[in-house]
Assembly symmetry: C2
DNA sequence: CTGTATCCATCGTGATACTG
DNA sequence: CAGTATCACGATGGATACAG
């Protein structure tokens, strides 16, 4: 793209073997999904997002919003008032995506415990040989 | 975890606001999904994966497989033959995940063009002011 | 065939400070 | 209020070489 890298994946250069990765590259960022979720019920302001998403920095909020906007997933509406008011909303495309992500959430919740157990078992199995104690 | 960081996300420390991120942290790695897809039809060998997934390095293949195994998403079966033969297969849990990811694929394919257009439009709109010439 | 170890370039993200 | 600029650091992943 035109300006220099400001952090956060800028663009996709190579063709994809499978299109899932294409979605993931848009959504796998640390904050993208949470923004999508936060904006799912309706337009939301910058500061509301900042307060609603635990631990996000202003920088990352801006950056992630810009990427989502660039991909046509959110719209940015500036109300020329004093003080300024900017609202972000999901596009129809993003709302579909949000529903699909809900399936992933369901899967995660169904398998959360199972995964945790698998990890624990694996870590016990593969710990650095101080078994005998 | 026990051994030192070898690259690729090691573990999850903090609690999650939403469980989607939990899935994504497991699947957002550059190669995880492609391995899941490649192993979806049935058990597959290390070298088959290596050849089937364009551009993956042996290192990343191993690393990603280990993580998937740790999360209980793939099983690793060693056939004690000469030469050695190792097969990786999806667990039932991973097969469910694979189906869910398929929905994401569908979304991606439906909206691929639309996203590309959004990007193009955005990039034109926000290029670094050398418009006149 | 199926890995592991090491080195290193790059990317993503947080901290902090400044602005219209 | 809603950003942007700069810096710094660890995580991520590629290249390469070695091994059971």
């Amino acid at each position: 793209m035109s300006q220099r890298n400001t952090g956060v994946t800028a663009q996709v250069v190579n063709a994809y073997a499978c299109p899932v990765r294409e979605v993931l590259d848009r959504v796998a960022g640390k904050w993208s999904v949470q923004i999508l979720v936060a904006a799912a019920h309706g337009p939301i302001r910058f500061t509301e997002l900042e307060r609603g998403i635990e631990g996000i920095s202003r920088r990352m909020l801006t950056l992630t919003l810009r990427n989502l906007e660039r991909d046509g997933l959110v719209t940015r509406t500036v109300h020329p008032t004093v003080p300024p008011k900017v609202e972000y909303a999901l596009t129809p495309m993003a709302q579909e995506l949000h529903e699909t992500l809900q399936r992933l959430t369901d899967w995660a919740e169904r398998n959360r415990v199972h995964i945790a157990e698998a990890r624990a078992a694996y870590d016990v199995e593969h710990r650095p040989e101080q078994l005998g104690a």
